[in-house]
Amino acid sequence: MEEKAILDELRQKFPAGIRETSASPGDEVVVIEKAALLEIAAFLRDGRDKFTMLLDLTCVDYAGEEPRFEMVYHLFSLSRNRRLRIKARLGEGDLRIASLTPLWKNASWLEREVYDLFGVQFEGHPDLRRLFMYDGFEGHPLRKDYPLRRRQPLIRLKE
C-alpha cells in the first residue's frame, strides 16, 4: 500500500494544486495545476520518498481540446525504486510553465527540446533556445497542426 501513500500525501499537502491522482499498476499519475509545479516538484525531490531523478520531461499536444497542451514529467526515486508521472495542462493562450532548472540539471536541455518542438515557454530557464532545430526555423514541428511534410523557407547562411 506504499503505492497509495505518496499520492495521499501529495493530496493532503497540496489540496489546491492537485487535480486528480490515479494509480494503475506501475504507473502512479498525478495531475496538477501548473502553478503548483515547482512547489510540488521540490517537495517530491526533497521529501520522504526522494524522487531525486528527473527521468524525462515531454509534452503532448491535444489539438482541439482545451487546455491544449499537457506537460508530462517522469520522476524516479532511487531509494524507493519508484516512478511517478506528473501531468499539467497548459492552455494555448498561456503557454507558460515554471522551469525545473533550479531543481534538476538535465531540465535545461529537456526544456529546450520542448520549447523547440512545441513552443512552450519555461519561466526561469536561463538559456531558452531551440535545441534540435536551427535558428530561423518556422513553427514547432511536433504540434499537431504542423504538417508532416511542410517545407521551410531557405535561410541565409551566416558569415
Binding site: 506501475g26 531523478m53 527521468l55 499536444d61 517522469h74 538535465n106 535545461s108 535545441l131 511536433l142
Partner: protein
C-alpha cells in the same frame, strides 16, 4: 548556432570549433570551445544535426510498421530499441509473451549490449591512440554480429523483436555459433584488459579526468554504465526486472570515482556479466516444440490445393520467413491472435487467414491499443531507454516520446570538460558513448 558562447566569450580567449564533422565526434555534434591557451574556459554543445523527426514520423505510422524506425535510434544495439518499443506496446495491449521468446529476447539484447559497449570502448581507445584495441574489439563485435545476422537476417537494421514476441525462431546452428562468439569475446576482453588496464598512456588520459560526482550524475538524469561508474547502483534489469532477468544470476558492476577510467571499467565488467547472462539463458532456453521443416509443399502448389480442400501438409515458406512457420508460433509469439501477424500458411490457403491478414494490415485496423498512455523502460546500452506512448484508440500512436539515455549524458558534457585541456574532450566524449540517432531522434 552557439550564440551563448559567442556573446559571453572574453576578449582574450580563442573560440575553437570541434565538429560537427570531426573524426572524434562519433556522430555529428558540434562543440564550441572557448580556450585560454589549451585550457577550456567554457564550452557549448550543439546537437540536432541528426534530427530526423522520429517522434513526428511515428505519429503517422501504425504501431506495427513503425518498428523499423526504432532500429535506427541506437544503431549499435537496435535489438534493445526494438525490445523497448515492443514491450511498451505490449504493456498497453496487455499481451503476454511465451517463455521461449522471452529467453530469445534476453539473448538478443545481451548480445546487443556487448556489441554496444565494444563499439563505445573501441572508439574511445582508438582516439586515445590504442589502435590495436580498436581492431580487437571490432573483431569481437563481428563474431557477435554474425550470430545476430544469422538469427535476424540483418546486422544492424534488425526489426527482429516484434510486438508479442520475436519474428522468427532461432536457427538450428544457433548454439554452436553462440558458443563460438562467447568464447571469442571472452578472449578479446582478456586481451583488452591486458592492453589497457595498466597502460600508462591510457591511464593518464582517463584516470581522474572528467570526474562526475554522484549527486551531479543523478541530477543530470544519468543512467546506465555512466551512472554506475559513479557508484550509484541502478540498473533497470535489476530494479524493475522485465523478461526473465529475475531468474538469472548476474551482478551490477559499480565504479567508484566516476571518471573516464571508471566508465571504461564498468563497461568492461558489464560485458562479462552479459556473457554470463547469455550462457545461462542459452542453457535454460525452453526447447522448441518443432524441428525445422526440411521440405514442405511449395507455396504455389499449396494455394492451388487450397482451392479444392483444406491443406493439411507443411508448406515450405520462402527463406525470408524461415523460423516463423505456423507450427512455431506458440514458441515465439503471443497466443493473442489479434496482436501478431497471422501465419503465412493460413494467409495463403484459407479465406479466413486472408481476412485476418488484411484486418491486421489495413488502415484503421490492426493493432489498436486502448485509449490511454504508458511508459515503459528497458536497460539499453547507454542506460534507461524509455518509451512514452499516448494512444487515442486508433491504429497509430497519438504521441510517441523516446527517453534517450545519452541525451541526458551528453547534456553534462559542458560541465565535465570545463577547466580541462582540449585533449581531454576526446576520451571524455568517447566514454559517454554518444549515439547520434538516439540523441537527436
Amino acid at each position: 548556432m552557439p550564440n551563448r558562447i559567442q556573446q559571453q566569450a572574453r576578449p582574450d580567449t580563442m573560440l575553437l570549433n570541434m565538429g560537427p564533422s570531426h573524426p572524434a565526434m562519433h556522430g555529428t555534434i558540434r562543440i564550441m570551445l572557448e580556450l585560454d591557451g589549451e585550457r577550456i574556459v567554457n564550452s557549448e554543445v550543439e546537437v540536432g544535426y541528426l534530427h530526423r523527426g522520429f517522434e513526428k514520423t511515428c505519429e503517422h505510422r501504425t504501431y506495427f510498421n513503425l518498428l523499423p524506425y526504432t532500429d535506427r535510434l541506437n544503431y549499435v544495439s537496435p535489438l534493445i530499441n526494438n525490445l523497448g518499443y515492443a514491450m511498451t506496446v505490449e504493456k498497453m495491449l496487455g499481451v503476454s509473451v511465451p517463455e521461449r521468446a522471452q529467453y530469445i529476447r534476453v539473448l538478443m539484447s545481451e548480445l546487443s549490449r556487448i556489441s554496444d559497449h565494444l563499439t563505445c570502448l573501441a572508439a574511445m581507445a582508438m582516439e586515445c591512440g590504442a589502435f590495436t584495441v580498436f581492431l580487437y574489439k571490432m573483431k569481437a563485435r563481428e563474431f557477435l554480429w554474425d550470430v545476430i545476422e544469422q538469427t535476424t537476417g540483418a546486422r544492424m537494421t534488425t526489426s527482429y523483436i516484434r510486438i508479442g514476441g520475436v519474428r522468427a525462431d532461432l536457427h538450428p546452428g544457433f548454439d554452436t555459433a553462440l558458443k563460438k562468439a562467447v568464447e571469442e569475446t571472452r578472449g578479446v576482453l582478456k586481451d583488452i584488459h591486458g592492453l589497457l588496464d595498466k597502460n600508462k598512456i591510457f591511464l593518464n588520459r582517463t584516470r581522474d579526468v572528467a570526474v562526475m560526482s554522484r549527486e551531479d550524475a543523478v541530477s543530470f538524469g544519468w543512467t546506465g554504465p555512466c551512472l554506475r561508474s559513479t557508484g550509484v547502483s541502478y540498473d533497470v534489469r535489476k530494479a524493475q526486472p522485465y523478461l526473465v532477468y529475475d531468474d538469472l544470476k548476474w551482478e551490477v558492476p559499480l565504479g567508484e570515482r566516476g571518471d573516464n577510467f571508471d566508465r571504461y571499467m564498468v563497461r568492461m565488467m558489464e560485458m562479462e556479466q552479459s556473457l554470463r547472462i547469455i550462457e545461462q539463458a542459452a542453457v535454460r532456453l525452453p526447447k522448441s516444440s518443432r524441428e525445422f521443416i526440411a521440405d514442405g509443399l511449395p507455396p504455389a502448389e499449396a494455394i492451388k490445393e487450397s482451392r479444392r480442400r483444406r491443406v493439411r501438409r507443411d508448406i515450405a515458406l520462402s527463406p525470408n520467413l524461415e523460423g516463423s512457420e505456423e507450427s512455431r508460433y506458440r514458441d515465439i509469439l503471443a497466443s493473442d491472435r489479434g496482436s501478431v501477424v497471422p501465419p503465412k500458411e493460413e494467409t495463403y490457403t484459407s479465406i479466413e487467414g486472408l481476412i485476418d491478414h488484411f484486418k491486421f494490415f489495413m488502415r484503421g485496423h490492426g493493432l489498436r491499443p486502448p485509449k490511454g498512455e504508458a511508459y515503459f523502460a528497458v536497460e539499453g546500452g547507454n542506460g534507461e531507454l524509455g518509451f512514452y506512448i499516448v494512444s487515442d484508440g486508433t491504429d497509430r500512436p497519438y504521441r510517441l516520446h523516446l527517453r534517450a539515455p545519452c541525451f541526458h549524458i551528453v547534456s553534462a558534457l559542458e560541465q565535465l570538460i570545463q577547466g580541462r585541456y582540449v585533449a581531454d574532450v576526446i576520451p571524455t566524449f568517447g566514454s559517454m558513448n554518444m549515439i547520434g540517432g538516439e540523441l537527436d531522434r
